[in-house]
Amino acid sequence: MFTLTFKVENQPLDIKCQVDAGENVLRAAQRAGIEIDAPCAGNGTCGKCRVRLISGALEMQPNPRLPYIDYEEMWRLACQSKVIGDAVVWVPATASAFKQDIATADLSSPEELARYEHAIQGIFSSGLSPSSSESCGIAIDIGTTTVAAALLDLKTCKVLSKASRGNGQIRYGADVINRIIQQMKPGGKERLQKAVREETIIPIMQTLLKDSGKSASDISRIVIAGNTTMEHLFIGADGDSIRLEPYVPEFLELTGVDANRAGLPVPPDSPVIFAPNVGSYVGGDITAGVLDTLMWNSDLMTLFIDLGTNGELVFGNSEYMLCCACSAGPAFEGGDISCGMRATTGAIDSVYINEDTLEPEYTLISGEKPLGLCGSGLIDIISELFRTGAVNSKGKFVRESPRIRYDEYGGNYIVAFASESGTGKDIELNEGDLDNFIRAKAAIFSAIRTMLKSLAMSVDDIDRVIIAGGIGSGINIEKAISIGMLPMIPTDKYSYIGNSSLTGACAMLLSDEAVEKVFDIGRNMTYIELSTEPGYMDEFLAACFLPHTDHRLFEQT
């Protein structure tokens, strides 16, 4: 037995634990209750679980996610390190980013509030009437990465308070598959449920009540919209049915649940309404989102894209709708990217690169110094690197510049040098990041093409595109088109509607007819399973190129 001591930044007391030789440092930390994010679930592929060895020794094989220079400075990846003796480890505060309150598309800005009010009005003027009540309700969007919620006055339809927080389940993996695998381990069901309910939703509800001056007894109704996995994990249903063939979830519609059964601290008989799922990978967040888009009430052929931790697409109009999910991964929210982060303070959200010097100019969402790149910043930088010829169509670096550093794993583009960054380290994008992002954008574009092809339609048949999700309103459509992520149709056909899942959930809170409508939408949508669609892999490979292997799709005619 050895003693492993954790010194956690901003925490006064050291945490000591006794561990066996060969014990994994990440596991030891989790057992000791120390929160270290492991979006890749400890597979050594994300590089987010960095800790610093202060004394003693740990055994760790070289890993491409940890540059040699950092290794020399005693940084280690917790998930790849084994205990071989007594050791003292320093855990930076950034290791548990999920705990920090994060502002994404969650009604926090005046712009988003205006969009919310506009959407609610739109829904009510589409023939769905509000069911007036004297009390209050809470709408919750459980995202894989972020949970956002709003407390509403059910009479005036006003938002009284709103809050959001990283989903506490993130330390069990960034994506739904890893979460399900964790859920199926002994005690996993309770752990995952606790992480989202006790550690995420209940604190959010407390914030909502405090900020609105209401008490728990004022709440008469709760609406939850989440993807199929999130709803399963929340209620404690087996997620394996989602992960394994034939991919039929335990439930599509979850009805008759009250606050007592859901374990939420409001009057026990308050109904908890779940937005219905359509399939394993198109869930309640999408059915609620479709309500928000009003595409169910329009003749216009609408493509609705939710760019969250995964990409979900809905195409159709008032007469029919098709939907599918594509495993785009978390790149649009900054996941799976070494310098990636969510669209919050310190995030670079737009980039311009000088063609001759390759020097960048960038803007931040807010804050003084850059900390990383969010989804829209990533789209920009990849578009710019490609436009300036710094990277080729495969996403490999091909130019020389003081901004480009080559190592054994390929090129790295330095967006901000250590001296100007808020992290004290260079903010740089490597070829692995480019690969991940190109695969993510290819997943989206090939899904659009495959879905349209199944209707014998082409991108020219799209009347409008509505984008939702955590990618942020800063998304530059022209640049997204230039890298082949979105189809080349006039940019004025595109619009961004923020967190449509939360807005849809709010509408369901305010109106029983809206709830009925969402169930209607869910039952009438045709779900396409892309993994069994014969042409999808081919489309995907063709899209893994900048902008696309078939360049004619992205040429001005």
């Binding site: 080729n392 169509s393 495969k394 091909v398 081919d538 490979l541 063709a542 893994c544 190129f545 292997t549 360049h551």
Partner: protein, 313 residues
């Protein structure tokens, strides 16, 4: 009603790529018809055949090969004999011994062998590397320099090493390269785009879209070839109009049918016959699919395939 012939002639055509110099230079591609559809229009150039020898000579355990190369001992003699093979258009030197996981023959020795081969023959030369990224880059660069002016074809440049190989072999020394991809039309096209983005001219490279011996996943090769030719000719996709070279020998002679002995599998009969059969049917299949050049090993395969080409083209 009388039958009216409607020749299926395309307005697009496959690029022409020439290797070697002088009278015996060989040009691949150039046609604007479906493979072997010479009833629609004459083929611009016939399918070319390269005869493979290796840095360590030829496989004399096969009686037919031993008999053909009898008396040819040095690499120069072997190369000269290969160049004279009836039906052969060019000689292919496969540097199998350069593989770092095998004999790891040093680059300088390989260069020396390549020079001897080039000096011994009057037909064009193609060099097949060790299929190792670092070694191939070093080999192709050094041989390019040593064989300046010979217009050699290097097989192959892949996604991992195309940049250096194209820069040295093509840009610096005006040789030709083959762009290799793994039996996928998208990957084939992507590599061609990357080469063209580097400024490599269409007349400077061919492609190897991957091969498999008949019965060993050949269906993928067949559909890839079909789609590539359709895109190149019917859809005028300029990034898929490169002529195709298929190294048949290395696939055909590596499968069980060509390896196991007659003692172990008496029912299967003579090993050499089996190997030749695999080589011939694979080569015939890729030619029917649109390959503009094939690399073969056995004199009998060369005779059979050159006969087929003469009859059908």
């Amino acid at each position: 009603m009388a039958f009216t012939r409607k020749p299926q002639v395309y307005s697009s055509s496959i690029n022409e790529v020439t290797i070697g110099v002088g009278e015996k230079a060989v040009t691949f591609g150039g046609s604007n018809i479906m493979p072997l559809y010479t009833f629609d229009a004459p083929a611009k150039n016939k399918v070319a055949i390269g005869v493979e020898i290796t840095d360590s000579g030829v496989d004399r355990t096969l009686p037919g090969i031993a008999a053909y190369y009898e008396g040819a001992e040095t690499i120069s003699e072997i190369a000269a004999r290969a160049a004279e093979m009836p039906g052969a258009d060019f000689v292919v030197l496969a540097l199998n011994g350069a593989d770092p996981n095998g004999d790891n023959r040093p680059v300088e020795e390989c260069v020396e062998i390549a020079k001897q081969v080039a000096d011994a023959i009057d037909v064009p030369l193609a060099i097949v590397g060790a299929r190792n990224v670092e070694k191939d880059t070093a080999l192709f660069t050094a041989i390019s320099e040593a064989l300046q002016g010979k217009n050699v074809l290097f097989v192959s440049a892949r996604e991992e090493d195309y940049k250096t190989i194209a820069a040295s072999a093509v840009m610096a020394y005006s040789n030709k390269i083959s762009a290799e991809s793994a039996v996928d039309i998208n990957l084939a096209k992507q590599l061609n785009v990357l080469l063209s983005q580097m400024g490599i001219k269409p007349e400077s490279y061919v492609m190897n879209v991957g091969a498999a011996a008949a019965g060993y996943g050949y269906d993928y090769v067949a559909s890839t070839l079909d789609r590539v030719k359709d895109a190149a000719l019917a859809q005028n996709d300029v990034m898929l109009q490169m002529p195709i070279i298929t190294p048949v020998s290395q696939e055909a002679w590596a499968v069980k049918e060509a390896i196991v002995t007659e003692e172990d599998y008496p029912d299967w009969g003579d090993r050499e016959t089996r190997g030749v059969d695999m080589e011939v049917c694979t080569a015939a299949a890729v030619i029917a699919g649109g390959s503009d050049a094939v690399i073969l090993r056995h004199p009998q395969s060369v005779a059979t395939i050159s006969g087929l080409i003469a009859d059908l083209m």
